[in-house]
């Protein structure tokens, strides 16, 4: 009985994702404000954004490839907070093991500039932090080769 429950719980844990919302301060604290030597790769995406979904495997593969080298990929979904279930399903279906959050930050006209003043608001957009400093911002997608070479360069 107990064993059955544990197995069920494990299976559920594996099937269902655990994506929650994050506000701007929490996101900053988890990435930008970390003063260690880890490279934080923060990718802004949404389930409805085709080019975002297309480039997600590049980030996941990079995260795998640079596992021993202090790289942390954080996916920040800009889906509506009402679409949390949809994001959880997406993450579970794709078996995404990296951190995923749904941003809950209010008026985009305010928080987009807090991320980067050069950002128009289009996604995908990616920002990298290391040692408490912004080391890259890009509005637009990467190829796998570009992403790998940038990460390689920034983790040196």
């Amino acid at each position: 009985m107990l064993r059955g429950l544990i197995i069920t719980a494990l299976a559920l844990g594996m099937l269902g994702a655990n994506v929650g919302t994050i506000n701007m301060q929490q996101l900053k604290d988890a990435t930008q404000n970390q003063t260690n030597d880890t490279l934080y790769v923060v990718n802004f995406w949404a389930t409805w954004c085709k080019p975002c979904v297309a480039e997600m495997p590049y980030f996941r593969q990079a995260d795998e490839k640079f596992k021993g080298q202090k790289v942390k990929v954080v996916f920040v979904s800009l889906n509506s907070t009402k679409e949390l279930a949809q994001v959880n399903k997406f993450v579970a279906d794709k078996n995404i093991t990296q951190q995923v959050h749904v941003l809950d930050a209010g008026n985009p006209n305010v928080w987009i500039n807090q991320v980067d003043t050069n950002w128009s608001g289009a996604i995908p957009a990616t920002i990298m932090y290391k040692g408490g400093k912004k080391v890259l911002f890009r509005e637009g997608e990467f190829t796998q080769a570009e992403l790998d070479s940038i990460i390689k360069n920034k983790t040196k």
């Binding site: 954004c49 985009p108 289009a122």
Partner: protein, 202 residues
């Protein structure tokens, strides 16, 4: 030499990913265009002899944000066309990248949703490039001054794409109202999340 090549590579990358780095700013003169409407006729800003200005909206069929704003774009036209500010909608997307945004699909959507405004196809993407549009929906509010069209507002329609009833600031309406009332526009530029314009692959 290596440094120069890295620089050149960086420049090429920038050029490839920031096609809209220049574009228009508040106060710029907007260029007129001649684009095909869903009814097959060509449309230019100068066709609207009695207009005081234009609410130019880069939008499309496929983007969920554009869909969320569709009824609000229709409402803008219904409210402001008679006051001299018609909506001119432009789809700048490459249908190869976004098949839902083909000219034929634009015609279908415009018919089904009874668009009261022209829905133009920026097939060469030159207008979106010249204006500096980056996403859909992306609004450029223009005011006629003699033979020129001056940009008065660039940005989002309002501050809440998700929930129209929770909107606090109607950026476009506030800006048009200010122009109509001869007042200064308090917010003349805003940012919003949106779908990237699907640029043609070079």
């Amino acid at each position: 030499m290596k440094k120069l090549m890295t620089l050149a590579a960086a420049f090429i990358m920038l050029a490839a990913f920031k096609p809209a780095a220049d574009g228009l700013h508040t106060g710029s003169k907007a260029t007129d265009f001649k684009l095909k409407n869903v009814d097959g006729k060509m449309v230019s800003l100068s066709d609207y002899k009695d207009a005081k200005g234009y609410i130019v909206v880069f939008t499309c069929n496929h983007c969920p944000f554009a869909k969320k704003y569709e009824s609000r774009i229709i409402a803008l036209d219904k409210k402001y066309k008679k006051m001299g500010y018609p909506v001119i909608a432009i789809n700048p997307n490459d249908p190869v990248a976004a098949p839902e945004d083909s000219y034929e699909n634009m015609q279908k959507v415009a018919k089904v949703k009874k668009y009261p405004f022209p829905y133009l196809f920026d097939e060469t993407q030159e207008v979106a490039l010249a204006y500096g549009a980056t996403r859909t929906p992306h609004v450029y509010l223009l005011q006629k001054e003699g033979n020129d069209n001056i940009v008065r507002y660039i940005g989002a329609i309002d501050d809440n794409s998700d929930d129209e009833s929770a909107v606090k600031e109607k950026y476009v309406e506030n800006a048009v109202d200010a122009l109509l009332g001869g007042k200064a526009i308090s917010t003349d530029f805003t940012k919003a999340i949106g779908c990237t314009i699907k640029w043609k692959k070079a």
